[in-house]
Symmetry: C2
Subunit: 217 residues, 2 copies
């Protein structure tokens, strides 16, 4: 995740390559704290998870945790923020992938659903804006609104291109993102369906609807 | 809500009708506490709402609240339970309404969506099972599973009747209930769309999908 100060990736790795800097090491450790915390919040709920629990799973002491994070609220906020950043990166990549509105919408749906099946995305969809204090609340709402508008624009574009049925893009974006968000509530990494299978089926159901379609001639 | 000890409803109301019993009055007051609490949890989050806040909005003292509820956790649980009971009643009524699987599925979708646009339903969809301590967690999961299975059965039946496209009923039930649940996250009673408009559009989008359908000849 941290930007690398090393030479470009297409050069062979030097055996004299610099060891990761202190800042990079600290960032990697902070990421590990957030990742474990997100998993534990999702498994047992935010309020039933203590900093002691998180420290114990990381095999560190609570004072060590405080070197990376301020408190439990700050951890949750950082987890939600990571979920949002991952989503926005995924949406950006979907757009960059090109294609018509439907190709891009499919790619966006997949990117979004992939995030919500991962710990930071699960945190994101579990935490209501109203639970986050200002000024973070306004910031989260701004980022969520960016995601929402990306879906709306693709729906609008799809309707204009004639690949999507005429609809209210705001409602369609809510239905799509809502159904996909909910995956993060019930998805079990060790369950009977893989994330890929779930994403394929949910995307298909949202695009096609559940009604039988008249046979195309 | 409380069962009435008065004569059957088709008899004229007696001017000597019994005043509500003490138990009924207590029940009505407890319901008012839960209703206000649910609204406040939804507006500002569970953890930012204190019993003092709830008491203040009801114009009572905190000790008065304790006559009706044990503590804040018990209030939340009672709110979620009410949301579940309302949903199950709505599903039962949809079935009793009869019709083919599609009629019943539409009615069930509407009943579910109506609940999630109301305070207890909003609580229901905001609270993850993992946040609720045992033995209530098992009980909530049982009731949620009942709702889920009602949707699955209707989808299965619709596929058998040929009105719904062949699909995995489990996934279809998750997509439908997920998109409808999410309404409770963004619906604003004072917003630009009425609950009815939202429910109509979301139901339509889930049934038809967002893809353009070939013109039927």
């Amino acid at each position: 995740m941290a930007a690398s100060p090393l030479p470009a990736a297409n050069l062979p790795a030097s055996p004299w390559a610099q060891a990761p800097s202190r800042a990079e090491q600290r960032q990697a450790k902070r990421d590990a704290v957030l990742h474990v915390a997100a998993q534990m919040f999702n498994e047992r709920g935010f309020h039933a998870t203590s900093l002691d629990d998180i420290a114990a799973r990381l095999n560190v002491t609570k004072p060590t945790l405080y070197y990376y994070v301020k408190n439990k609220d700050a951890i949750l906020l950082a987890c939600v923020k990571k979920g949002l950043d991952m989503t926005l990166e995924g949406i950006e990549a979907s757009r960059a992938g090109g294609g018509n509105a439907l190709d891009q919408l499919r790619a966006c749906m997949r990117a979004y659903a992939e995030v919500v099946t991962q710990p930071f995305g699960m945190c994101l969809i579990r935490v209501g804006d109203e639970e986050v204090p200002e000024p973070s609340r306004t910031e989260l709402r701004r980022l969520k609104s960016e995601i929402d508008h990306a879906f709306r624009r693709l729906v609008e574009q799809g309707v204009q291109e004639g690949v999507l049925a005429p609809c209210d893009p705001k409602m369609a974006a809510f239905v799509i993102a809502g159904a996909l968000s909910w995956i993060g509530r019930w998805y079990q990494p060790a369950g009977a369906y893989s994330a890929d299978q779930i994403i394929d089926q949910c995307t298909q159901l949202l695009l096609q609807g559940v009604l039988a379609r008249p046979a195309q001639e």
